[in-house]
Point group: C2
Chain length 350, copies 2
């Protein structure tokens, strides 16, 4: 595969304080870029990370035709760099793209770009405890035209940001009873740009009430719990782990599906089924709700300390045998090539 | 109000074939631009229309945090330029922005920018039959950070494209029974960028079946008819004009609300209420469905010749006393300053 590479003259890495990173603000030396025009993807290129000129009429600015992925790379003690189930992200970005009427990006371009970019910027993958490189593949509509129809031109990019272990502090959530994230027949399952913009305002209202995340409910009845903020959500009732099934409203999270498999492997009973807010409130009242946590690439697992359902507030116990911690330890151990990878999930950057 | 103006050296207008314009591809000589940072809107500027450099991490590319408006300017026989209810667009872009957790853009900046831009580019407002200048105000999230939260920085812009009368050819529509445009508690009422991207794929599937637009239905039951493609939709059953009420799923269209008022003024009975697909199918079967049309800024009124509801297909009659044509003539007459403007809807560019 042809791939044009233009290297930076001098790395900016020495300017970066890796012990004091904000999530997603500092990017590595290079970026991967591939344009779609005349019905096909052109020769991809890697070049120094830099601003790009866009016409003000580019469709992405007007119609939100954009999809993305989030991945992480870890460096092990031998300086090998590991990705976690990148095939899942590669497949999902194309599923997202299809729903937004965008062309699929070729698998070989995706992996070639990822490998070359990570080799060039390998210094940026730090190996301190909790350090990783957050990888953001994305596709945007670049046709210069404000008619409301799918773009003819696109740009696929991969940019990378060094990040530290994600710690959001204490997390309390509120169950949504007015706002919605997605509809049946909508784009909730896709990592579509517009899904996120739609969540910011309800999230801010929740934050003003002291809740760090919203647990989205189904738009029709607000009876079923679906996703927490930008993560999938798990509930432990007694010793059973419960999470909602994926649907056209719910993101098919890589962390989510990996946790389900790991939990089963650990002998934990897992139920994948609709979870009603009523059920969770009643379990909380009876003391049967032991844990609640979010699962996603950025935080891996984010433990939830409490929740509100309308006027009722609940605090969750601190568990000695925490499923969340057990699963997080195992998953991050696999991701960082510290524990056995019996499911063949990890991918070594060549 | 301070407004920095940098004029073009030489207009590109002589390169433009005004008799052969595609919608939204050619833009005028200047653009209006205003940046939001440090919690406030900075000094706005008008400068030559040109590409702008964006960092690949700009939030608009990742999270679809963007809203827009569509307006038209007409030139009358005295070379005066007229806008139609621009106050509605100014209010709506801020309502859209609020739902997407974006700052409101000051009314005085909006009107100052609009006036100055249209004065500078007044030559671009042609006065041939059906000619107008399509005006696109929009706001995009410009913070360079990929964390999934509202942007701290924004850019408000106005760009303008000369357009001819919009003629989409024959329009047949299909009632949505699988895909949805928006949910209760969602952002369907807003001109949010992501709403449009979400509609492209279902619209393409419909086009492949021979339908130029999808009539969206409510996501919960798919029983109620809501919006046609990017337009509001009206049904004439016998002599009554029916359209769905606005809601958090349905755009509060300026053309829609103006048509309701004009129809009432013309003595037409108007009902604003939920319209079920079953009702419309039954009316069509009985020969009571006389007309169906879309209403929006780009097309003003788009007559619908036929529709499909699942496997059933219907053709609509050609009416001698067409409400659509009567209302379109009156509305465009007011917009172009050819007919009396008894509702004080038009706005003369100063």
């Amino acid at each position: 595969m042809a791939l044009n590479i233009e290297k930076i003259a001098k790395s900016k890495i020495s300017d970066v304080d890796f012990s004091n990173l904000k999530f997603g603000e500092i990017f590595t030396d290079h970026m991967f870029e591939c344009d779609y025009k005349d019905g096909e993807w052109q020769t991809p290129q890697i070049r120094p990370y830099q601003p790009i000129a866009f016409d003000p009429s580019a469709k992405v600015f007007h119609y939100g035709q954009a999809v993305f992925e989030g991945m992480k790379a870890y460096k092990d003690k031998n300086d090998d760099i590991w990705l976690f189930r990148p095939d899942q992200n590669q497949e999902r970005i194309n599923k997202s793209a299809e729903r937004l009427d965008m062309p699929a990006f070729p698998k070989e371009f995706f992996f070639e770009g990822l490998n070359e970019l990570l080799k060039l910027d390998s210094q940026w993958v730090q190996k301190g405890e909790g350090d990783s490189l957050y990888i953001r593949p994305f596709v945007i509509a670049t046709e210069n035209c404000v008619s409301a129809s799918a773009s003819t031109n696109y740009k696929f990019m991969i940019i990378c940001a060094p990040v530290q272990a994600y710690y959001a502090g204490e997390v309390r959530v509120v169950f949504a009873d007015k706002y919605s994230r997605s509809a049946n027949g909508g784009v909730g399952f896709a990592k579509a740009a517009g899904n996120y913009a739609a969540s910011f305002y309800p999230a801010r209202l929740a934050a003003e009430q002291g809740y760090q995340q919203v647990v989205w409910t189904d738009a029709s009845t607000h009876e079923y719990l679906e996703e927490a903020g930008t993560m999938n959500v798990f509930f432990r009732v007694n010793d059973t782990l419960i999470t909602a099934p994926t649907s056209d409203r719910i993101l098919d999270g890589v962390t989510r599906k990996s946790l389900i498999q790991l939990a089963e492997d650990e002998g934990i009973k897992v139920e994948v089924r609709p979870v009603s807010r009523q059920e969770i409130v009643e379990a909380a009242k009876k003391g049967e709700l032991k844990e609640m946590f979010g699962a996603g690439t950025a935080a891996v697992i984010s433990i939830i300390q409490g929740f509100a359902d309308q006027d009722q507030k609940f605090e969750l116990p601190v568990m000695e045998d925490s499923y969340a911690l057990r699963l997080k330890t195992r998953l991050t151990g696999i991701q960082q090539n510290k524990l056995e990878d019996k499911f063949n999930w990890t991918y070594k950057v060549r």
